[in-house]
C-alpha cells in the first residue's frame, strides 16, 4: 500500500540485506540474526542472490579499476531496494561514501541515489525502524564492552544507536572504556601486511576492554571482531566476542567467535 506522500510503511518497504562477505563466509549466524531483526521490525527482507563483496579489498589496495567493476555490479543489484542494510559499518560506508567517489559518469548518479538509502544495521534499527523492543532479552545478566568500529563511527555516525538497542536488553550493561573509538588494528589487509603493528593495536584494545571487567566484547563489524578474537585466542584471553546482531537477536547458542563448541 502506497501512502499518498510517497513514503512507505515499514510493512511495505523492501529492505535488501547486504550480507557482507565476512558474515557469509565466516559467521552466517550474524546474517541470520540481521535477517530476523529486520523482519521483527516489520520489513520485507530480500537477500539478493548474486551478492558477493563490496569491493573494499581491491579498492583499499589501490585497484580502482577492479573495484569499479564490482561496485557497478553492486549498484545495479541493490538499487531497486527501498533500503539497503548491512551488518557492517565498513561495507555500508563503502557503499555510501566511497562508491560515489569511485564510479564515474552515469554510474555516479546511481551511486549517490543508492548511498542515500544505505544503512548500517544498528543505525537502521534505531533511527529508521525506531525499534524499541527486541525479539529476546538476555537470559543472564552480563557486562559487555562495545568496540566502536572506525568506518561505522566516522563514516556512518554509528555511536549511540547500538548502545540504545543494547539498553533494551534489560540484563545487559554496556561498560564504556578509554579508547573504545580508537582503531583495533584490523584495517582490512593492514593486519596481514603489518601484523606486528596491528597486534600492538589489538592488544591495547583488548587490555582496555578487559580492564572494564566485561565478559564480552561486541561491535558492529566482523572484521574487527575476528581480528580481536584471533589475537585474544593467541594471547589466551578468556573473553567472549560476538557481533552485536547476535546479541540483539538473543542468539547466543552458537559458540562465540574463535571459541570451541
Amino acid at each position: 500500500m502506497e501512502i499518498s506522500d510517497g513514503t512507505k510503511t515499514s510493512q511495505d518497504a523492501q529492505v535488501f540485506l547486504f550480507v557482507t562477505c565476512l558474515a557469509d563466509l565466516l559467521r552466517p549466524s550474524v546474517a541470520f540474526a540481521s535477517l530476523a531483526l529486520l523482519e521483527w521490525a516489520g520489513y520485507r527482507v530480500t537477500v539478493p542472490d548474486r551478492q558477493t563483496c563490496c569491493a573494499q579489498p581491491a579498492y583499499n589496495n589501490g585497484d580502482y579499476k577492479g573495484a569499479r567493476r564490482l561496485a557497478e555490479r553492486v549498484i545495479a543489484m541493490l538499487e531497486p531496494a527501498d533500503y539497503v542494510v548491512a551488518p557492517s559499518g565498513s561495507c555500508a560506508g563503502m557503499i555510501r561514501h566511497h562508491y560515489p567517489r569511485l564510479v564515474a559518469g552515469r554510474w555516479r548518479d546511481r551511486a549517490i541515489s543508492l548511498a542515500g538509502k544505505t544503512y548500517e544495521l544498528t543505525a537502521f534499527l534505531a533511527d529508521v525502524a525506531t525499534l524499541t523492543d527486541l525479539p529476546a532479552s538476555s537470559p543472564t545478566p552480563r557486562a559487555v564492552a562495545y568496540h566502536d568500529a572506525c568506518a561505522g563511527l566516522r563514516e556512518m555516525g554509528v555511536r549511540q544507536q547500538p548502545r540504545k538497542l543494547l539498553r533494551e536488553l534489560r540484563q545487559v550493561e554496556v561498560r564504556e572504556f578509554e579508547g573504545a573509538d580508537v582503531c583495533c588494528g584490523f584495517g582490512g589487509t593492514f593486519c596481514a601486511k603489518m601484523p606486528e603493528i596491528s597486534a600492538r593495536m589489538a592488544d591495547a584494545k583488548l587490555d582496555a576492554a578487559l580492564a572494564t571487567g566485561a565478559s564480552m566484547i561486541t561491535g558492529g563489524d566482523l572484521g574487527c571482531l575476528f581480528s580481536l578474537a584471533g589475537r585474544a585466542s593467541r594471547r589466551g584471553d578468556e573473553i567472549e566476542i560476538r557481533h552485536v546482531a547476535e546479541l540483539l537477536c538473543g542468539d547466543l547458542d552458537s559458540p562465540a567467535i574463535g571459541r570451541p563448541d
Binding site: 558477493t52 581491491a58 585497484d63 573495484a67 593495536m201 584471533g230 571459541r259 570451541p260
Partner: protein
C-alpha cells in the same frame, strides 16, 4: 637526511620491542588528543574557521605565482633578499654562501622542518661551521645525535630521565641535580644563552609568509626563534613557497587553527612577525635579512591529485591521533615527516620506491582526517598512493595476484559460491572442536600474531538458499 622509509617494517619492529619508548608513546597517546579536543570545544567556531581558512588556502595555491610575486616585492621593499631554491641542495648552497660571505663560523638555528628536509645542519657542519639547534627539543636530539620523532615535538620519544642523563654527559658542569624537568630546562637556558650571543648567523623557519606586507610569521613556545632572529647580525629565514598567505589577517586565522590543533593552547607563548633588517632608527634586529624559499617538488604537486597536501599547516594533530604512529613512534617512518602527513609527504617528496610502503601504514580509521585543521582527506590520499604503487608494480606480487583473483571471483557469483563454500567448510573442518586454527596456509601475515577463528561451517548464502527451498 638520507631516508630509510623503505625499511619501515624493520624500523617499526625495532620500535615495538623498545618497552621504555613504548611506555612513553602510550603516555603521549593518552595525553595529547584530549588537549586538542578541549581547545577546539572551547573555541566553539572551529569548523567554520577551518572552512574559511581552507578556502583562503585553496585560493592562494591556485594563484601562487601572483601571491609569491607580491610577497617577494614587499619583502624586498622591507630590505630582505629573497632567494628561490629548486631543491635541497640549492637551499644548502645558498645558506652556506651567505654564511661564508660574512666569514661566519657560528650559527644559531631555530626549529625548521624544511632544513631537516634538506639536511642543512649536517651540510654546514661538514663545511666547518658550528651549528646549534636552539629549540629545546631540537637541541636535545642534536646532543643525542638523533632525528626528530615528531614534527612539532622532536624529542617526544625521550623521557625526562633520559634527557637529564644526556645533559650530565654532554655539559661539563660538574656535580648537579638534573632529576626534575625544571632543572633540565634551566640548564638548557644557561647553555644556550652563550650560543645565542656568539652566533653570527641566525636561521629560522616560518609558519606563514604574508604577501601583503612581506613579513614572515613564526610561532614558538620558547622564544628561541626571536633570539635567533634578532641577536645575530645576519638572519636567514628558510621555508617553502606554499607557506604564503594573502594577508596578515589570513595568517592570524590560520594561527588560531594551528596552535589549538597542535598543543591545545589558544596561542603559543610567542608569535612573531619578522619584517626584515633593522631600520636606521631601530635599536636592534639583524643588519641583513634573507629569505630562502624551497620548492623541492611542491610545485609539481599543485597539478596533481595530491594538491590538498600543500594545505597542511604542520600542526602534528594527525600524528597525535594516529594509532599507527602511536604504536611505532616517529623514527620508524625513516625520514623527516612522520605519521599520516609523513606517509603522504615522504613518497611524494622522495620517491615512490623509497616511501610507498608508508601508504600501507594506515588502517583507514579516519581519525587523522577528522582532526586535520586543513581538512586534508589523508586516508584518501594514502589510498591513491597505493594505486600509484600498484601501477608502478611496487606492491608484493602475492598481494597483487591474490587481490586480482579475489576481484575476479567476486565478479562471478556462481564460482564465488563454490569456492567460498569449499574454503569455509575446509577451514571449519581444520579447526573442528577447537574453534580456531593457529596457522592458516596463505595467511602468513595474519597467523604471525593471531589465531584464525574458524568459520561456522557452510556459507550463509548456501544455507539460506537451502532453507528457502
Amino acid at each position: 637526511m638520507q631516508p630509510i622509509s623503505h625499511q619501515f617494517l624493520d624500523n617499526a619492529g625495532v620500535a615495538l620491542r623498545d618497552d621504555k619508548a613504548a611506555r612513553q608513546r602510550d603516555i603521549m597517546a593518552r595525553r595529547t588528543p584530549p588537549l586538542r579536543a578541549a581547545a577546539v570545544e572551547e573555541f566553539g567556531e572551529f569548523d567554520a574557521l577551518r572552512e574559511h581558512v581552507g578556502k583562503v588556502r585553496k585560493h592562494t595555491l591556485q594563484h601562487l605565482d601572483r601571491y609569491l610575486e607580491q610577497y617577494e616585492r614587499e619583502a624586498v621593499r622591507n630590505g630582505c633578499r629573497v632567494h628561490f631554491a629548486r631543491d635541497g641542495g640549492e637551499l644548502n648552497d645558498l645558506v652556506l654562501d651567505i654564511c661564508q660571505q660574512h666569514g661566519a663560523h657560528r650559527v644559531g638555528k631555530g626549529k625548521s622542518m624544511v632544513t631537516e628536509e634538506t639536511g642543512l645542519t649536517e651540510y654546514l657542519e661538514a663545511a666547518g661551521l658550528r651549528v646549534t639547534e636552539t629549540d629545546l627539543g631540537e637541541y636535545i636530539i642534536q646532543q643525542a645525535g638523533e632525528k626528530p620523532s615528531h614534527i612539532v615535538r622532536p624529542a617526544v620519544h625521550k623521557t625526562a630521565a633520559q634527557i637529564g642523563e644526556l645533559f650530565q654527559d654532554k655539559h661539563p658542569l660538574g656535580e648537579r641535580d638534573l632529576t626534575t624537568p625544571g632543572a633540565i630546562v634551566q640548564e638548557a637556558r644557561q647553555v644556550l644563552r652563550q650560543h645565542f650571543l656568539e652566533a653570527e648567523v641566525g636561521i629560522i623557519g616560518a609558519n606563514a609568509l604574508v604577501a601583503e606586507n612581506g613579513y614572515s610569521m613564526l610561532v614558538t613556545n620558547e622564544g628561541n626563534g626571536d633570539l635567533c632572529a634578532n641577536l645575530p647580525p645576519v638572519l636567514i629565514v628558510c621555508t617553502t613557497l606554499d607557506r604564503v598567505l594573502p594577508t596578515a589577517s589570513d595568517a592570524a586565522a590560520m594561527l588560531r587553527l594551528l596552535v589549538r590543533s597542535s598543543t591545545g593552547q589558544p596561542q603559543t607563548c610567542y608569535t612573531s612577525f619578522y619584517s626584515g633588517p633593522r631600520r636606521s632608527d631601530d635599536l636592534d634586529g639583524p643588519i641583513e635579512a634573507h629569505v630562502v624559499l624551497l620548492d623541492n617538488g611542491r610545485c609539481e604537486l599543485l597539478d596533481s591529485r595530491y594538491d590538498s597536501m600543500l594545505e597542511c599547516i604542520r600542526c602534528g594533530a594527525c600524528l597525535n591521533h594516529c594509532p599507527v604512529y602511536q604504536s611505532v613512534g616517529g623514527h620508524a617512518y625513516g625520514w623527516v615527516y612522520q605519521g599520516p602527513m609523513g606517509s603522504v609527504m615522504t613518497p611524494l617528496l622522495t620517491s615512490l620506491e623509497e616511501g610507498s610502503v608508508l601508504a600501507s601504514a594506515c588502517t583507514a580509521c579516519g581519525r587523522c582526517a577528522e582532526v586535520c585543521p586543513a581538512d586534508i582527506p589523508i586516508p584518501d590520499l594514502l589510498r591513491d598512493l597505493r594505486q600509484d604503487e600498484a601501477e608502478a608494480g611496487l606492491n608484493l606480487p602475492r598481494w597483487r595476484y591474490g587481490l586480482r583473483l579475489h576481484s575476479w571471483l567476486a565478479g562471478n557469483p556462481t564460482l564465488y559460491r563454490l569456492a567460498t563454500s569449499a574454503a569455509s567448510r575446509a577451514v571449519a573442518w581444520l579447526g573442528r572442536g577447537r574453534g580456531r586454527v593457529r596457522a592458516l596456509p596463505m595467511a602468513r601475515g595474519w597467523s604471525a600474531e593471531r589465531d584464525f577463528p574458524v568459520p561456522q561451517g557452510d556459507t550463509f548464502m548456501r544455507q539460506y538458499r537451502r532453507k528457502k527451498r
